[in-house]
């Protein structure tokens, strides 16, 4: 709806420019050729600048130095190498971490899923995160140094206030709701696996999950779902988590199952209770 309203001024400006050009034809043609030549570098420059300014990445994050990598390696050897191998190349128990990128480490360790506490269908979100943010940054630096992979998104890439929740809702419904439920409350997968509840997940971790596809989740690389769409999804989730439920208690936002339960346990029980009361012998 908004694009058609914004477009009209542009053609009129061009038309006015074109009208001026027609006055002196030869100079205009030369000027136009120079303009085209100039336009390319200018365009490239703007794109480059815009990219460096807007692109997700560790642009804003603390730079990772060699000492971070070595400190991360120490942590890795002490805490992760039992399963992932001394060289992080993976073993029977655990996958290789070469090329998973800093984002995967930040997600898995930052949500308490790693180090794994018990074997099971799926590593649950930890109630306690084992490492400090600083330690996670070092671990991520080390794993990132093993091979190129997705990086931890910058603050602006995951800022819900910059996204469009309405567009995010559409994208979420098409791509995420089938597993995570319409309100991001999670859903069942096969053999005890599940899509987790997203209400307490931080925007950065949501972004990283989309980027790295942990567990059964597919990878939503930037080619599938660009960074703006990811931010819109984050904005939508933020909106529904922050906004009060308009209809009263949301009953877990689980759909008709919890509603049916309430209809019987609260509604019908109360009514039968009243029937017993009203029907009690008056004599």
């Amino acid at each position: 709806m908004t694009t058609p309203q914004m477009n009209p001024p542009q053609p009129t400006a061009e038309a006015r420019g074109a009208g001026k050009d027609t006055v002196t034809a030869p100079t205009a043609r030369r000027r136009r050729r120079m303009a085209t030549a100039l336009l390319v570098p200018i365009g490239l420059l703007t794109t480059g600048l815009a990219y460096t300014l807007l692109a997700p990445g560790s642009a804003g994050a603390a730079p990772t130095g060699a000492e971070d990598v070595s400190a991360g390696r120490e942590l890795f050897l002490a805490n992760c190498s039992t399963c992932h191998g001394i060289d992080a190349g993976g073993r029977d128990l655990a996958p290789s971490l070469v090329g998973v990128g800093a984002a995967a480490v930040d997600f898995q360790v930052g949500t308490g899923r790693m180090p794994l506490r018990a074997s099971g269908p799926q590593s649950p979100k930890g109630s306690k995160v084992t490492f400090s943010q600083e330690e996670i940054r070092r671990l991520a630096a080390y794993v990132a140094s093993l091979g190129p992979g997705p990086e931890i998104p910058g603050a602006s890439a995951v800022d819900p206030t910059l996204g469009d929740p309405s567009r995010g809702a559409l994208i979420f419904r098409t791509n995420c709701a089938m597993c995570h439920n319409f309100a991001g409350k999670g859903g069942a997968l096969t053999q005890g696996k599940y899509a987790p509840d997203l209400s307490d997940t931080s925007p950065t971790h949501i972004y990283e999950a989309m980027l790295t596809g942990p567990g059964s989740m597919p990878v939503f690389a930037d080619t599938t779902l660009d960074s703006e769409s990811k931010r819109d999804i984050i904005a939508y989730l933020d909106t529904i988590n922050e906004a009060p439920s308009p209809g009263g208690l949301a009953l877990g936002s689980l759909g008709p199952v919890s509603e049916g339960l309430v209809a019987w346990v609260v509604g019908l029980s109360a009514l039968i209770g009243c029937a017993v009361w009203v029907g009690a012998r008056s004599s």
Partner: protein, 601 residues
């Protein structure tokens, strides 16, 4: 104080109600207030005038007086149907409000309303108007939620009412047809609810319609035509929402009003059943008159039902269509479930294994949908509708039954009912298997496999256990009648004999425990007798009947007969001093069979 409403002793069924103090007009009816009420206030005179007007035109006084004095027995379980009735009234009132704002059209529009996460999205008129009535109409969301909660309570009350009628045997002659009307109402409630659930055109309702169309498609030969006919072409099409709207707000409510009227009319015609008790017989009704007792109780109860559903609507969200988003055939949400009354069908479909679908002669045969979603409800409905005749076929009872059975006194029927409930509940639970999996951290596959086993294994177990419990309770009743209540007082006599003093139960209580009829298994005429040329031979029907009869009555505990009671009292067995006060009372147990003993195999 209770009033006994006694029609002339023969055939209580269709008899007009007999008012004890005569039937002459003009005694105490509204008509007396008119000309005679000269000393009354102005209001009383006005009321009298209205009464006279109505009486002279419609004979109102006779109708009003007859109905006002109609006696109904008192019991809380008789009010379960009332919950359904009043929910229906609430549904009608709130439904009318909703029609003022709802637009039954799937024409695309852009949502521009107060709910930000949907702003600017392309949605259908139906969805946009439902959002508008929820967020931009004063009180709209509350009314919508009252409507939806009432629908859930309506269906639940119908089910509970139905099982009350079943377990107490209230469906027996002469009420078989009213039972059928009730079953049809229950089925219609499911359809009506589903139609309403589908109207907002949100993601969940669209998914539900998709499933409904798939169920139609699974019917062999005619399925694709049916679906195409109903949806006006391919799913989803544009025709269905308007059609469903007509069905939901016009056709089905009209049918409901008709059938509910018939249902209530038959209740008045047959008179209400009553629980067994002293003085309660098949040819009378013991209770309170409609006016003023039940007018107050029923009127008050309507407001209780309306109040509780309103309270629920004010506290709990139901069907948050704004969160589901507009319908679009491509997405689907985890936890897509129908409302609970459809849940058992969803559950049955979830339990059906995938390999039931196969290809034959170039056509896909979807037995995994057809059997659970079409055949199963069809069979269940037919069994439910025919049950009264099935039971009378088995019991060979031709008489009218107005005194209810205590569920324990019909152990097989009670067992069958609990079996049905168990089966139904397991299907209902299966309908929520994914929610159970996530909430209890279980594997959905394990849950489904377990439920597949349980849905077959558990109902028969439930039948056996229930039947045993009923027999045990009956035996306890016998014990109470014969030996009285344990008092906990232990007495040692001078001879050193030690016994516990039993107190005889009071007569009213004893009547309740001994009044029921003793059923004996039906013995088919033996081939020797019938073979002797009287033209009657043992048919398959006879054999089936006697086999079913044995199934119903083989295990039984007979009620205590007067002879047994007298014998127990005479022997003084297990009784202490002071026993035997029930001497003069005649138990007059309906069973006239001799030597009613506990028989069981």
């Amino acid at each position: 104080m209770s009033v006994t409403d006694e029609p002339a002793a023969t055939g209580a069924g269709g008899e007009e109600i007999g008012v004890p103090d005569g039937t002459d007009r003009g005694t105490g009816g509204p008509s007396t207030a008119g000309p005679a009420g000269s000393g009354g206030t102005r209001t009383a005179r006005a009321a009298g005038a209205v009464g006279t007007f109505a009486d002279e035109r419609f004979g109102a006084s006779r109708i009003v007086r007859g109905f006002a004095r109609k006696v109904f027995p008192d019991h809380w379980s008789f009010m379960l149907g009332e919950i359904a009735l009043y929910s229906f009234v609430v549904l009608l009132i709130t439904g009318v409000f909703l029609t003022l704002f709802y637009v039954p059209s799937v024409a695309p529009t852009t949502y521009e309303g107060s709910y930000a996460p949907l702003n600017g999205q392309q949605v259908s008129e139906a969805y946009a108007s439902t959002l508008r009535l929820s967020f931009d109409v004063r009180g709209g969301l509350l009314v919508r939620q009252i409507h939806h909660w009432s629908a859930l309570v309506f269906a639940a009350a119908i089910l509970v009412h139905m099982f009350r009628v079943f377990f107490t045997g209230a469906f027996r002659k002469p009420r078989e047809l009213n039972w059928v009307v009730g079953v049809v109402l229950a089925l219609l409630a499911i359809f009506e609810g589903f139609a309403g659930y589908s109207l907002p055109d949100d993601l969940l309702s669209g998914t539900g319609l998709r499933i409904a169309s798939s169920i139609l498609l699974s019917i062999p030969f005619v399925g694709s035509y049916l679906s195409s006919f109903l949806f006006g072409g391919e799913f989803p099409g544009e025709a269905f929402i308007p059609r469903l709207y007509t069905i939901h707000v016009l056709i089905l409510p009209a049918v409901f009003v008709l059938l509910i009227s018939a249902h209530l009319f038959m209740v008045v015609l047959h008179k209400h059943t009553q629980y067994p008790g002293p003085g309660r017989r098949d040819d009378n009704v013991v209770g309170y008159p409609f006016y003023p007792v039940y007018l107050a109780k029923a009127g008050g109860f309507f407001f209780i039902v309306a109040g509780i559903t309103t309270l629920m609507a004010a506290v709990f969200t139901i069907n948050p269509i704004w969160a589901y988003g507009a319908y679009d055939p491509s997405p689907v949400t985890a936890g897509s479930q129908p409302d609970w009354y459809m849940g058992f069908l969803d559950g049955a479909a979830r339990l059906a294994p995938g390999w039931w679908e196969f290809t034959a002669f170039g056509h896909t045969v979807s037995l995994n949908v057809l059997l659970p979603a079409v055949v199963l409800p069809g069979v269940l409905s037919i069994v439910a509708i025919l049950y009264p005749w099935l039971e009378s076929f088995v019991t060979r009872s031709r008489r009218e039954h107005h005194v209810l059975d205590r569920p324990r006194n019909a152990p097989t029927r009670t067992g069958l009912g609990v079996m049905a409930i168990t089966f139904y509940l397991l299907l209902l639970v299966s309908g929520g298997n994914d929610i159970i999996a996530t909430q209890l951290h279980l594997s959905i596959n394990a849950i489904t496999v377990a439920l597949r086993v349980l849905v077959i294994a558990l109902p028969p177990i439930a039948f056996l256990v229930t039947k045993r419990i009923c027999l045990g309770l009956q035996r306890r009743d016998r014990d109470l009648v014969l030996h009285g209540r344990e008092t906990g007082r232990i007495v040692r006599t001078e001879q050193g004999e030690v016994y516990e003093v039993h107190e005889p139960i009071d007569e009213r209580e004893r009547w309740r425990l001994v009044q029921h009829q003793a059923h004996r298994p039906y013995e088919p005429p033996s081939p020797d007798e019938t073979g002797s040329g009287n033209g009657h031979s043992v048919t398959v029907r006879d054999r089936l009947r006697s086999r079913l009869n044995r199934f119903y009555f083989r295990d039984r505990v007979d009620p205590v007969t007067p002879a047994e009671l007298a014998a127990a009292q005479a022997s003084g067995h297990g009784t202490g001093p002071g026993h035997g006060t029930g001497e003069g009372r005649s138990t007059e147990a309906p069973s006239t069979e001799a030597a009613g003993t506990t028989t069981e195999r």
